[in-house]
Symmetry: D2
């Protein structure tokens, strides 16, 4: 049971691809497809799976609302790993259906948004229907008497459900990618690797732009680099936001630890979401980590020793 890993199913989702990238040696029988993002969170919380994998954000659509909502407001889980997966969309149909025969296309709303231009140009008359995942679309199309003629999904899904590819690379953005995270119940953190990321949710004490600037200062003054800042409504009315932040570094690092304590002191609430190895491929060129003057771990240790000397009266 400890080896089971939940993911956003059904089989053939981009999330399954992400899980296999994170756990290349996992047995297929230990992978548990779930009917929704919240079902993945539930499986991990109840201990039915050791970990779960869910999409966190997409380079075109932004944060995945249900994932964000669970991380922000649900019973706490820790992010212990991340991976970024390129998103390549393919139009798959049942055997014997060609492009001219496609009247009803099923896919996930995010996928639909990302293929809007291709659909308008190539299947202007087709009706688009949204279902819970791109793999569910493939599964539905494969069923006898399906209400849809074709699905927009990952290659793995079309193949798994025995469909025929009609067109590939149909996303409006060739470089689209989705970032997935692996979740565990609270416990020991992944050890620092020297190239880590830390995620957190911050609720401002006062709901004004000045409070956001103060929040950013807590990082800037410690030389900690933010790699993501996403606002989300708190649900408490229009104009009320919290902020989901990712920063370079591990909570065990002096700089990030000090920044986190600073947030804790000046913000209404801070939820720590995890420190974990940074996915190498995507962050390297996007937001190169340029340590500010005096922001290295060695700088922090040297300053701490100097302060100790002063406090002890030896300087």
């Amino acid at each position: 049971m400890r080896n089971r890993h939940a993911y956003l199913g059904p089989e053939g989702t981009f999330t399954e691809a992400a899980l296999r990238a994170l756990l290349p040696d996992a047995d297929t029988e230990d992978l548990v497809p779930c009917a929704g993002v919240d079902a993945v969170f539930g499986a991990v919380r109840r201990g039915e799976a050791a970990t779960g994998v869910v999409p966190l954000e997409n380079s075109v659509e932004g944060g995945v609302p249900t994932t964000m909502a669970e991380l922000i407001n649900g019973e706490p889980l820790l992010i212990t790993a991340e991976v970024a997966v390129p998103v390549e969309f393919t139009l798959f149909a049942r055997e014997g259906v060609d492009a001219a025969g496609v009247k009803r296309v099923a896919t996930h709303p995010h996928a639909l948004a990302q293929c809007r231009r291709w659909l308008a140009a190539n299947l202007p008359d087709a009706e688009a229907h949204t279902v819970s995942s791109t793999a569910a679309a493939a599964q539905a199309v494969a069923e006898p008497g399906a209400p849809y003629d074709a699905a927009i999904c990952a290659r793995i899904a079309g193949e798994r459900y025995g469909l025929v590819p009609l067109a590939s690379g149909i996303g409006d953005r060739a470089d689209a990618a989705t970032r997935f995270v692996q979740l565990s119940r609270p416990g020991p953190l992944p050890a620092p690797t020297g190239a880590d990321r830390t995620s957190m949710v911050v609720f401002l004490a006062d709901d004004h732009a000045g409070a956001l600037a103060e929040l950013l200062d807590q990082f800037a003054v410690r030389g900690v680099n933010l790699t993501r800042l996403e606002s989300r409504p708190t649900g408490d009315g229009l104009g009320r936001y919290c902020f989901c932040l990712d920063a370079d570094g591990h909570v065990a690092d002096a700089a990030l630890g000090e920044a986190l304590m600073g947030l804790r002191r000046v913000c209404a609430d801070v939820r720590f979401l995890g420190s974990y190895p940074r996915a190498a491929d995507e962050s390297a060129d996007l937001t190169p980590f340029l340590p500010s003057r005096g922001a290295s771990e060695a700088d922090y240790q040297a300053a701490a020793r100097w302060l100790e000397e002063i406090r002890s009266g030896r300087v």
Copy 2:
């Protein structure tokens, strides 16, 4: 034709309610329901409607992705008015169907997200299906041979399609609200009223947290109050964001004009979305406008006169 007003249809949507709040005297025959948010933008852009009304953000789900995408990347339209509408969800079924008979519920994804808790508690076995709007759900349920037994929608929609209410106030948040905006083609701006709001999209020059702090400083230094900051992916890869901002004030005001020029100078791009009267009821208590020291229009005029004296050598 100049009087026609497009909105996110079909008839019975919360958007129709918003449009009627904005234009209480409009003839019903001048109101044009459109099949999607992008269709509303298209109708206004092509001149088929003088204005269009779309949802901009929801207090639970955040920004409406298609509206945001059109405002950020589409052919420019101006926001000329706003209104906030409380969101109250009701479960409607066809005549003769009771709660026990509800197996398939249709609604809009946002509505589904906001009624998740009620559904889990009261209809744990019902399947949820998402359609393009809550009104479309009501319309679909009303059709003979409908694939759904009930719809979650606004009261106006259920009544318009002849359905029977099974339960009302089923949203997880009693105080949920959606903010709608009215769009026009570029042209003269609404005159300043003294209680205005200005919307804009800002693309940072350098993609780091420091750049965001600099952006906020452009407002803070001029004493301009931000009432909304929402990040959106630019679509150019993970970790790339633009920011949708609302600020108190009108672009004709000295303070806001100076801040906007500042953004223009230091940011990669700024898209002005409009200056329009602030919706009175919602902003008053949420983010009270407290003019900072020296931030009133009179302060700005006095400083400009003083500078003129200095430059002319009279001081």
Copy 3:
């Protein structure tokens, strides 16, 4: 020998008054008048006196240059106490000289600057001569065949040297005060009292205004209140400054310690000058210590415990 206390002499200076305020029980024979501020520093450095008292800043003239120079560049000494003394100037003459007979007035340059207006109004034709201290002026006037007719000095000095007061309260500012500090060789710091002050000198890494703003941020982010910021040339050419700072708090406090470590990391150099009890009377009403949100010692300890929980995987 351990009980001897050097001060800026000769007998009768405001500095002697400050020393007696700091050490009301000291024997007069243990008080050692020195010929200049640098002589006081030298006496303490060589161990000829246990402590020394010098003027640090004046409310009219600003920092005392020699004191500043010794603290900034000289062999380090610790500030262990402070006191603020009101400055009241009196014009004293030799027995038998009246105001009409005063042709040459001696005093210290700072005193001269602070009595300029009175002199211009009352003794417009008198020549002003500057000597090393107001007490030295009194002493010189008292000498037979003195080159001066009158001295501007403290009452204590005029009386000690047997002079006659001609006019008192002749300073241009009735509320002028001088702040004196007591110096010791490096060693254990005075224990925190809950109402302390910490002094330091900071050399910016880059000589630009942005670097100064970063310096101020190091304090602001930790909620540490600065009570004094005085620029001094580094001596390395025009446009090169260092900054002498006083802050509320003791280096043993978490907030101040963290701020000091921050300065150490981002600045070219930081010289710690001491933590010592704040002089109660003058700071209370001038810069009331209003702890910022989350800046109390308890806030710091709570945040540290929270971080410990997170790092240990218990949150």
Copy 4:
């Protein structure tokens, strides 16, 4: 009369050298030596001289107190030019006196401070006396029956008063320099040259470090580079400071004008001291003017045009 130029005399001061550098073609008979800095200000204010030249700051001692006090609190004059003069000190004696015979040395307090080390090493037993200027010291030494044996002064002064040089280059800092400014009564400003400097005095609205950071932000946000920040006591008690600032740029520039208006709005008071051509030699390598992104005059003009388009409804 319009051609007369007052300066801090007597003849032979570094100030005379500065004046001759600023006005190389002036007739000697038009140069009016004054007995003090305040006398120079007075001569210009009363119209007895068209302009006046005074020392403003020294690279070793910092701001010249009397000049600062007159600029901050006196009847306003405009700074219309500046020049930096290297300070080289020479020890001059009367004919027939050699180093061994020097018992009493006269000079200006700043010169004394800058030759302290040389005097301690070479004339440890000589008494130092301070007079109103280095040239006055030379003049005094040259008088029959002078109370001093030698003067520390500029070469020009020693030669003018017929003294004999005993040692030259005796300042502790070989690179010491003094910055002088030329003053005029209020009137038309010097035209912008593209390489200008603007001086001002700023009184903070609230006496705390946060207010200083806000002041710096007013410049930073507009991309205006500060080249000098010097605190001065306001005279209103310990802990009360105003700030003398120099910035790159001319008040006629859009960036500097906007920054100045910003200061005017948020500060208790701002005194404009003048815009004038920057002294080329000294500032070039010390604080290279690196225009920030979007801070050029062209950037400002482009942003103003863009705003005009938006306000007119054409964007």
